[in-house]
Each structure stands twice: as structure tokens, then as C-alpha cells.
Subunit: 222 residues, 2 copies
């Protein structure tokens, strides 16, 4: 895929050593998450909606009820800012102002387009579910036409945007290193716990193998 | 504190049983997190910036370099959408369309105001750090006037907004319960791992007691 060219909107101005525009870095951050924050404008006011997303090739996708105000606004092709962020650690320095956070984030700019046609929509949603839980789609009660019609799927090309990443240790002022206070990093992870069966589940159905490892969603095992 | 009154912007329209406007629910979700996503408009385009935040009484606060484009925009008092979301679980149902996510989110609307004066700024930042790491502020190398001047602190009143929460089990169609596929919930948590000391830390300084439990930041122990 094509690396991105910094623009007025996407160029990292502060702490620019943390910025990246190459497709692989952006894709790897997108692929390590489940929830994005979509920013858009209605009647001149900004809105930020958290929602599930997925990436396929050079596009990101998200979906929801066709009645959703967010989706009805975005399907018109208005401007979108699509942000994904992962918290990786707390960074404790010798001065308050050198405290920081380790994180990986991506900010994309563009306009969403609606996936048209029941077949294309069903195919997109199958990819979403299969990314999360490989082989599950075929095991499910098949989608009805009504369910597909009641769902809107939006996509947006990964064409303008940037990644921003902080890793590692506190950056203290040189003279501060001897200050007698603990300094270091508290790593933070998102973890999955053991699957809990629905109470109406038939007794013989155990948790499927694909739930044993959800590291492709950025979730570590407990 | 005062419960919020739903407005055109903040009223939950879809799945309204998930919505809440009472101050305690909103505060408890805000107080269980570290990173918010701030939405704002520059030259007619939406931006969504992840940043650390804290709450004190009826306001949320965030901060950063005085050179930050986000902060320089927001200190003018433009419209802001301030969103916090916590991922609590993956909900696997018998049909793809009944899959869901357990989450807690808050969306606030308003205009930010800049904290003026070095003393007031230092006090606000002390509260931010003390919320995270009680007693630490006094242990740190004291803030310099230059550090305080180079930092902008913004606050916003919790006056317009809503919470949205999903908990619990899949909501399958009644006829789907006998479908032979696993259904249930995969709980998701954010956890802290053991603190890692900076390599230039004097050997005698062990990790402080306040790092043993960061559950007030929404972080479970490993």
C-alpha cells in the first residue's frame, strides 16, 4: 500500500519525532484495536462517536443502524476525522512536567462512502466478523435481508493522516536524574478474560477455539 | 452536582435505554479513565485528538504544550465535543447482527476555558498528578516558572452531555436461542503491569506504594 504524504491537516508539528506516515505503521496501529473515535460536524458543532471499526487493505470501515444520526450524517460524504488510540503505559519522571504516556495513535482525514447493495454490505460485515472471530460467520444463524437493510456500512480510504507513537522511558532533564524519587514506566495492556457462556446456551457447546487468542484485536490473554 | 438535561445534541436517540444523564453516572465513567478524545473544528474540518484528562467537581480538564494547535484552537472558546469510552467486553450472539460490545461512554458538549495565572495552573496540574499518584507531587523536582508558562490547562464545565452504557448478555432473537453456536461475553479489562524502573534510577529507590493500586484510573492489577 502507499505511504501517506503529510498535509496541512496531518503533519505532526509538535514532537515530530513521534510522527509516522508510512502505511505499515498506520496499518499495524489500526489492526491492534477495536474501537475508533469518529469526529464529524452537524450544524457547525463537533461530535465524537466511539464505534467499532475494521481495516481491509487501504480502507477503514465502520457500521451501525441505518437510523443512526452519525451514519446518516456521514453517508452524505461530509468531512471525517477517524482516530484510533492505544494506551501503552504511564511514564513517571522526576519532574511533573516530564511525566508522559506511552501510546500509539492514528488520525485519518477524509470522507466516508456508503457501501451500496445488500450483497456488498453482507460481504463487508462478514469480513468484519471474520477478522474478529475466524470461521464464526459460517456457524451463525444466517443474516436476513431485513437485518442487512437495517445496517449501514461506511468505508473511508486511508489517504490522508498520520500515526503518532511514544514508547520507552521518561525523558528527564539531565540535572534531574539524581532527584530522589522513583521514575520509570507502568506498562498498560488491554486483556481478555475467560469467555462467559450465555445462560441459555445448550450445555454441550464449549467456547470455540478462536476465542483462545484474540491478540489480533490487541487483547492479551489474562 | 447537578444532573444534566438532555438537549438536541446530547439526547440519546437510538437504544435510549442505554442512555443516562445523571451526574453520578457521568462522573463515575469519567473517573475510570485516563484518555479522552477531544473533537473540535479548524477551518471547517473536524479533528479528534486523544489526550489525558481529569475531572474535578463539575469540570473536566486537559492540558498540553502552549504551542499545541489543539490547545491554541480550544482556548479561544470554540465548540468542543469531549468523549471518553471504556471497552468492557465482546458480546457474541447467535446471529452476526446481534453481536455487540459492552462499553461505558460519556459525551460532553461545551466550550473550553483557559486556566489563567501561573499559580492556578500549577494548582490544577498538581491535582491532575495527585489524582493519579497521591503524594507524588511533593516528592518531585519542583516545577519551574518556565515549565508552567509553557503549559496550557483547559477546563470545561460538565453541563451538557450524556452517558451511554451497555452491559450484560447477548440479546438474541427468541427463535435463535437453539441455534448451535457458542454465545456469551468475553470480558475485557485494562490492566497495569509491574512498574519498570528507569535505568538511571538510584538503586535504593523502590517503586512507591501508590503504584500498587491504580484502580482509580480504571487499571486493574495484572
Amino acid at each position: 500500500m502507499t505511504d501517506l504524504t503529510p498535509t496541512v491537516r496531518s503533519r505532526i508539528k509538535r514532537l515530530r519525532e513521534r510522527g509516522a506516515y508510512d502505511f505499515d505503521t498506520i496499518a499495524s496501529i489500526l489492526d491492534a484495536g477495536l474501537l475508533c473515535h469518529v469526529g464529524y460536524i452537524i450544524d457547525g458543532h463537533p461530535y465524537v462517536t466511539p464505534t467499532a471499526y475494521w481495516r481491509e487493505s487501504g480502507r477503514v470501515y465502520w457500521h451501525g443502524s441505518s437510523a443512526s444520526r452519525m451514519l446518516r450524517t456521514l453517508e452524505k460524504g461530509v468531512d471525517v476525522c477517524f482516530t484510533v488510540s492505544h494506551l501503552d503505559g504511564l511514564v513517571l519522571a522526576r519532574s511533573g512536567f516530564n511525566h508522559s504516556i506511552n501510546y500509539r495513535s492514528v488520525m485519518l482525514f477524509g470522507r466516508a462512502h456508503k457501501i451500496e447493495g445488500d450483497g456488498a454490505k453482507a460481504q463487508a460485515l462478514e469480513k468484519f466478523l471474520e477478522r474478529m472471530f475466524p470461521t464464526r460467520w459460517q456457524q451463525l444463524r444466517p443474516a436476513t435481508t431485513q437485518e442487512i437493510k437495517a445496517t449501514t456500512v461506511l468505508g473511508m480510504a486511508i489517504e490522508e493522516g498520520s500515526a503518532k507513537v511514544r514508547t520507552g522511558w521518561p525523558h528527564d532533564d539531565e540535572d534531574d536524574h539524581s532527584w530522589p524519587v522513583w521514575a520509570g514506566v507502568v506498562p498498560v495492556h488491554t486483556v481478555m478474560q475467560s469467555p462467559l457462556p450465555d445462560e441459555r446456551l445448550a450445555g454441550a457447546i464449549g467456547p470455540p477455539a478462536y476465542l483462545a487468542d484474540l491478540s489480533h484485536l490487541g487483547l492479551k490473554a489474562k
